[in-house]
Amino acid sequence: MKIKNFVLRVINGSKARIWIMTFGALLCLIVVGIFNTVLTTTSSDSYCMSCHVHPWAEQSWKLGPHHNNRTGVSVHCVECHLPPKGEGYLFAKAKHGAIDVYGYLFKDSTKINWESKKLLENAKGFTYEKSCIKCHSNLFPVTLSVNGSNAHLAYINATEDPKPNCINCHLNAGHFDKNAKHEHDTNFGVDAALSQEKFTSSTKVSKFVNFREKIPGSTVAFDMVAIPEGTFNMGSPADEPFRKPDEGPVHKVKVSKFWMGKIEVSWNEYLAFFQATASQGRTEGQIIVNKNVDAVTGPTPPWGAPDQGWGKGTRPAITMSWRAANTYCMWLSKVTGKKYRLPTEAEWEYACRGNTTTPYFFDGDPKKFTSKGIFKKIFGPDTTNINSRIIYMVNSSSKTQDPGSVKENPFGLKNMAGNIAEFCSDFYSPDAYKTATGLVVDPKGPETGTEHVIRGGSFKSDAKDVRSAARDFTKTQAWLVTDPQMPKSIWWYSDCIDNGFRVVCEADSIK
């Protein structure tokens, strides 16, 4: 009764307002207090680690400079993986929290592709540049080196879109990666097979059949596949799933016979070139414009590890520029006495299709293979047929793979689709096919342009982008964003890790 009276008095009494206000204020304090506690608790390292149970995250953070440094300052999970407070902190926390809770409840942590989270484009999704800048507000500490200063000047003056992000260069600052190097690799390509006997001449070819080419002056040999001449439908029909407008219209193309590398140019092959031609500086390299020079000058030492620490050998060589790939062909022609070059886009698609007219060179529906869409995320895509023939997003572990692991296409070529995207000799134009009338013979693409065609998709690609007709092109500026040199390298891309090439040899190389 007493309580009831008290409550009534509180509600109806002359001091009612004061009581209610006091009560409200108290309630607010309690709610704010609880909210703050929840916020603090759920933002602690131990709370983060309780879900992110894969050991990589915690261990590599502890080994990295944001924990293991001479100042003893430890930077916590949320200080990088959430924006600063007041700059979208709560929203981002709710977003990432929801994703994490979903993953925790419905996904098997051992089956998540943690390696792929380390890739730059993925890391950008959960590493906040504003947070980098919040602590690293001084981009020009007095101890910064000349190269570092040049890189930071380029960063603050950048006008290209997308602008470079801190982690374009400092990707491994948060989580240690023993494969990441941040220096010129002057030992790159030093020959480990010195004891083996080197070839003194290239393979003599007298008939148009498959042959194994030997690179004179090296221990390296590689297989060339004879591709017969033929006519095929280039491009994809309008009803092909995931078709893009630049893949059409379908038109008839006749391709003369040629040889094509059975696999993408491997590190073994590319290093033979690097060792034979490597130059110290850019001015030397610029001499190569003249095709009739006596000697070919090749790449400068690369920055960091171009193979990304994945290994060399018969894995495809990557990160070289289109220009460097072209120079490789010139050099190979010179040392073998044959006519090597990059394939034209038509040759590439003809070789990839191997007389098939379907989206892939085997049976399968892009809609079933793709990983896009909410249902695929939950139940996983169909991988029948594609899994044994193409290295793509689903089976690549976010790396290039050795060509031994995939089946051949009908022409006997490996990795035409997937593994790495391949340079073609054509300039890219989205309208390249639109000018075709009647039967086109050995087209060479637009006469002018800025970027070149790349084909086949890569280990990063979704199944929809490794279709035989899918087209893409080089992005020179974006692929050199973090190159610290001024001017930037003409030999190596600093920001593209899934591009390489395959050679063709012209049929009239028979002697």
């Binding site: 020009f140 200063s149 001024m486 001017p487 930037k488």
Partner: protein
């Protein structure tokens, strides 16, 4: 009832005061958006001082003690109270001796143990803990390295212009400028026109729209031939080149940097930006030593159809003169003291002070060479931060872009020159023979940038 009325009153009061607050803020906003005049501070203009303010004693060291260096040091001590030169550094003993004599004659002796000679003398001087300010006045080739060393040693700086001779040096200057800013070190750069009251007042008129939108400009530094040294017996290659530095591009940057950079800097200042590209030409007609040109004519393209014609020449008995001119949609100006309407009538003139006889002077009272040191000391002593290094590096790089356009005959873009790895001079700095070829550049032949 009484309570209610009280409450209502309070509510009314609150409401009214909030409205009043919005009113004041709004009126402020309206006022500020109405007034077109922009003040000195927002225009980034330096204070005009009668002298540097009092404050703690500032001790300076002079690096590069030739004529301009000694002059700059005297300008520094003339800027205000408690300013001293206490150390000297140079590559030549005779230059040190001359400079010391000069200061002894003022009864301001510089102790012998504070005088350093050699290519590393600057390091020894800058390592002295008692030094607060470093005056860098060597040939410009050395400036970027010296500036970096000064900043590493936490010294405020006075840097003579130009501040570099090549793009590698320009980038080092810009990065070091940012390092100095991060440490709160003040930097003034010897672009004295920016400290001249007549230029400043004219600039304010232009910035407030006195000639409308800027449409074109010209900048010129055409003068008689300048000094050179013939080689004396006993001088090795390096000694000869440094004693004759004004005639070697790797040391001087050519006269488009050495002197004309002043005019180029004024155009960049008034335009509010650097040019996007340059096409130009030049040549060598009468020079007896070195590898530089006698004249340049460069079109600097500022974009949107706005160009500045830059001329500089060092030839006797020609139509000579120096200055700037900027045209706008509503008039034109000589940048220093006068604004004309499009019909040629004078729209505005800077009022120069009167001398003791009551006659109007034709210059300002305080030399701008001293005024800039007053500004430096003012900034250090009052905490009103100043750092001119980056903008002067940009003006110097503008001149380098023009020089490269003339030397090569090519169109040179800002992007290309900013990213260029052109790095002039020998790899190693030491006295003795120098293995360098000095060919006067011929346009149209490589190498380019």
């Amino acid at each position: 009832m009484e309570n209610d009325s009280k409450n209502i009153n309070r509510r009314k009061f609150l409401g009214a005061s909030v409205l009043a607050g919005i009113g004041v803020a709004g009126a402020g906003a309206v006022l500020s958006s109405c007034s077109k005049k922009v003040d000195n501070r927002t225009l980034g203009l330096p204070p005009i001082l009668k002298g540097a303010p009092k404050g703690r004693k500032l001790r300076a060291g002079l690096v590069g003690v030739g004529n301009r260096g000694t002059g700059a040091a005297i300008n520094f001590i003339s800027a205000g109270p408690d300013l001293e030169i206490i150390a000297l550094a140079d590559v030549f003993q005779d230059k040190i001796d001359n400079c010391r004599k000069r200061f002894e004659s003022f009864n301001l002796p510089i102790p012998a143990e504070n005088c350093f000679v050699g290519f590393d003398a600057y390091k020894k001087l800058m390592a002295m803990p008692e030094i607060d300010v470093v005056i860098c006045a060597t040939p410009p080739h050395f400036r970027p390295e010296h500036f970096l060393e000064a900043v590493k040693n936490k010294k405020h700086c006075f840097l003579e212009k130009p501040v570099c001779v090549d793009p590698v040096g320009a980038r080092l200057m810009i990065a070091t400028a940012k390092k100095a800013e991060a440490l709160g070190l003040c930097v003034i750069t010897g672009t004295q026109r920016r400290h001249q009251e007549d230029y400043i007042e004219t600039y304010k008129q232009i910035a407030n729209g006195a000639i409308g939108k800027l449409t074109s400009a010209k900048a010129f530094w055409n003068q008689e031939h300048v000094w050179f040294r013939t080689r004396e017996e006993g001088w090795n290659d390096m000694e000869y080149m440094i004693r004759n530095w004004n005639n070697f591009c790797w040391l001087c940057g050519d006269h488009i940097l050495d002197t004309h950079v002043h005019n180029i800097d004024v155009i960049n200042w008034f335009m509010g930006k650097h040019p996007e590209k340059a096409i130009g030409y030049g040549g060598r007609a009468r020079r007896v030593t070195g590898d530089q040109y006698d004249f340049f004519s460069v079109d600097f393209d500022y974009g949107n159809g706005v160009s500045s014609h830059s001329m500089c020449r060092e030839l006797d008995s020609c139509a000579n003169g120096t200055g700037e001119m900027i045209n706008g949609t509503e008039g034109y100006t000589n940048c220093i003291n006068t604004i004309w309407n499009l019909d040629g009538s004078v729209k505005w003139k800077f009022e120069y002070p009167k001398d003791e006889n009551g006659n109007t002077m034709n210059t300002i009272k305080i030399s701008p060479y001293v005024q800039e040191h007053m500004h430096l000391v003012h900034a250090i002593r009052t905490g009103n931060y100043v750092n001119e290094a980056e903008r002067t590096a940009i003006s110097t790089l503008t001149a380098i872009m023009g020089r490269t356009a003339a030397y090569t005959g090519q169109m040179i873009t800002w992007d290309a020159i900013m990213k260029s790895d052109m790095d002039l001079g020998p790899k190693k700095l030491e006295f003795g023979p120098v293995d360098m070829v000095f060919e006067t550049p011929v346009p149209g032949t490589p190498p380019h940038v």
